[in-house]
């Protein structure tokens, strides 16, 4: 129960949370294929053909993929039709690119040629202990101080008094079933972490240096240095429960890689421009270019080829498509120079609000590498057989898919109502009829519907209007009695009975606080269609 004096704050916090969530980028594709084998795949590298497209869009994507596969297989024989402009690099092939930071691939058995680390080879250090969700952890790190590589394999064996950590196979579960050998070159680090539940800790005596011993796989014992935890029982509890082996992880070197040396001028020095704004047809491929500029006086190496993401702004809540830049053909951006790459984006079938969209291209984690192209999205041409009209016959009801909606506003909150004039344009190639009163919804930026009742018109409105291709008509919507805070940018969605729905912007920019006055607190807010449909110029 929220106290009455806290209600405003509760609402403000909820709105702040909603704003925060809607501004979050979409999650990348989650790849559960790590369940299958021995390791977690940490990133989606291949250009996933995400199953977000539908119908013709999906078919088109698959066709594109098929083509790219063929292109890769026959690279020598077939001309690269996409490198249309001289100096433009073709977009990346489907094959997964090299990982940005190459790691040695884990193997399920010890590397046979490398000796096991003994106590003479490594120096131990311990991270400050951490606490999270009732669990206390410490990370024990081993640095190879010898002059030749050594490896640690299997579960680390740690003893505390008479308690011994186990090495049964259940310990390896955190890394996917197969212990990986941590092959440590001289100076390299491996590690594991230990811990237990602090909720079961009745005393508070620190575990100090020498209490815990690590037994090295190659022989010898080393004390784990430092103060691990304030709670020794934690470890005795844990080690008593060794058969479950919950928190001791197998060795792994890949988790603690030594950072590779930074190149003199990394790709962060580059800037991006994308090709001119353009028009794209929904459901088809849109070709554009991305140019990487090097303003520095040093050449910038692009290898290993970075991955990039592309997504349109209207699909902010969908995963981006991820590809690898095909930089093998241009591994270096010369000092003061530039390299242009061809890109191809599969335009979704859905028409964004107002037919306008932004196509965003970026390399994740590199803030300077982001570019933006404005797209005007044109609906796909409707096949003649689907138009449903023949010369001389009465024109058919306008399908929402062949209408473009553009919101506007008139009137204002001062008179207690907000009126929006909504323009509907026939984007099809034949005339059609606007008839019937659509249901009105107001949508927040995150596509959730505003709690607004859709009221029936006070007087019957049955003004059908024939709309020639390219012509617009107006529908007037009245919105009354909004007693909440301004909900920010709003879209309006019109649902036509049996003819689909169309969505477009309702308010702003620049101001999005256009809401009707709260005339009747406690009563619901409502929308009503006041007039439909006004011919062009009649509004």
């Amino acid at each position: 129960v929220i106290k009455p004096e806290d209600r405003g704050l509760d609402e403000a916090l909820r709105e702040a949370g909603e704003r925060w969530r809607s501004a979050r980028p979409a999650p990348r594709a989650v790849d559960l294929s790590g369940l299958l084998g021995s390791q977690i795949r940490r990133r989606t590298r291949a250009p996933r053909v995400l199953l977000t497209a539908t119908g013709a869009g999906l078919a088109a994507v698959l066709t594109l993929v098929g083509f790219m596969l063929a292109d890769r297989d026959n690279r020598v024989d077939r001309p690269d039709v996409h490198a249309t402009t001289s100096g433009i690099r073709p977009w990346a092939p489907l094959a997964p690119g090299p990982s940005p930071s190459p790691t040695t691939s884990p193997s399920p058995s010890p590397a046979s040629s490398v000796r096991l680390c003994s106590s003479a080879d490594v120096k131990l250090s311990v991270s400050p202990h951490g606490v999270g969700l009732g669990t206390v952890y410490s990370i024990v790190l081993l640095r190879n101080i010898a002059s030749t590589p050594c490896q640690a394999f299997g579960a680390p064996r740690v003893t505390y008094g008479t308690y011994v950590s186990g090495d049964d196979s259940s310990l390896s579960d955190l890394d996917g079933g197969n212990p990986r050998p941590a092959v440590l070159a001289p100076g390299r680090i491996g590690g594991f972490d230990v811990g237990g539940l602090d909720s079961s800790c009745p005393t508070n005596r620190p575990v100090t240096s020498g209490d815990l011993l690590l037994h090295l796989p190659g022989g010898g014992t080393l004390p784990i240095p430092g103060s691990i935890s304030r709670c020794p029982v934690l470890f005795s509890n844990y080690f008593l429960a060794v058969p479950t082996g919950d928190l001791v992880k197998p060795w792994r070197a890949a988790e603690y890689p030594t950072p590779s040396p930074t190149p003199p001028a990394g790709i962060d020095a580059l800037t991006v421009t994308t090709s001119e704004n353009g028009a794209a047809t929904a459901g088809t491929a849109y070709d554009y270019t991305v140019t990487l500029h090097n303003p520095t006086t040093q050449p910038v190496l692009l290898m290993p080829c970075p991955t990039y993401d592309e997504r349109t702004k209207s699909r902010y809540n969908k995963p981006a498509e991820r590809y690898t830049l095909d930089c093998a053909t241009a591994p270096v951006v010369p000092a003061g120079g530039q390299v242009t790459f061809a890109m191809r984006y599969q335009v979704p079938l859905a028409i964004p609000s107002g037919g306008q969209d932004d196509l965003i291209w970026w390399v994740e984690g590199h803030d300077s590498l982001i570019g933006n192209t404005q797209l005007t999205v044109i609906p796909a041409a409707v096949p003649a057989s689907a138009r449903g009209s023949t010369p001389g016959a009465p024109t058919a009801q306008c399908a929402a898919s062949s209408l473009r909606l553009q919101g506007g506003r008139q009137g204002g909150g001062a008179v207690g109502v907000a009126q929006g004039a909504v323009s509907l344009t026939n984007t099809g190639t034949t005339s059609c009829t606007l008839s019937g009163i659509p249901t009105v919804q107001l949508l927040r930026a995150n596509s959730t519907a505003l709690a607004v009742r859709n009221a029936a018109p006070a007087t019957p409105l049955e003004k059908a209007l024939d709309l020639a291709p390219g012509k617009s008509a107006t529908l007037v919507v009245e919105w009354t009695n909004w007693c909440g805070s301004p909900p920010g940018p709003l879209d309006i969605r019109l649902k036509f009975d049996g003819a689909g729905d169309v969505t477009g912007p309702f308010n702003g920019p620049p101001a999005y606080d256009f809401v009707p006055a709260c005339a009747q607190p406690g009563q619901s807010s409502s929308t009503t269609v006041l007039d439909a449909y006004l011919p062009p110029g009649a509004g």
């Binding site: 979050r24 989650v30 969700l133 996917g176």
Partner: protein, 183 residues
Amino acid sequence: VEVGGGTVTLSAEEARQAGGVAGVSVEADEFAAAVLPHVSVLVDLVARLVPQVDADDATQEALVRAWKRWETFDPSKGSLRGWLCAIALDRARRAHRRSRVVAQLHGHEVAAADEIGRGTDRADLQRAVATLSRRQREAVDLVYFVGLTVADAAVVMGCAEGTVKSTLSDARRRLRPMLEVAP
């Protein structure tokens, strides 16, 4: 398969194969179908509470972890969402600790949590929330920002629902004068 903004790429064949791994009896597709609606919440959760780590990576690690622990999930102790959130937060905090240790070893600076952008909060709200105690901030983040129910937040915080409610109430009492929000 796409649900809740997350995408799982797992073919039926892969799912069948996965079902036979390591004595796990449930089918991977059953698991995938169960967790999919929660993926975007998990990513938001990590992004909000442990902004220093890669939320997608931590979520993926958490899902693999959840898969391996699938048989230990007990619906009578709380919702699936709460259980997954607890695992995701655990994974994320471990990942953060690891990265801190590695960074310290290599002499890198590690940005404190508050120095890292947490999205598009208004600055005043952000500052006010930052003054809350750790538990209060956690409750506010879980319920208001990640959008969890009080019951799910209780699972994640490891306490009773009533404790979450009283923590939230304390947090609001502390925030009110700072934000000057009319009731």
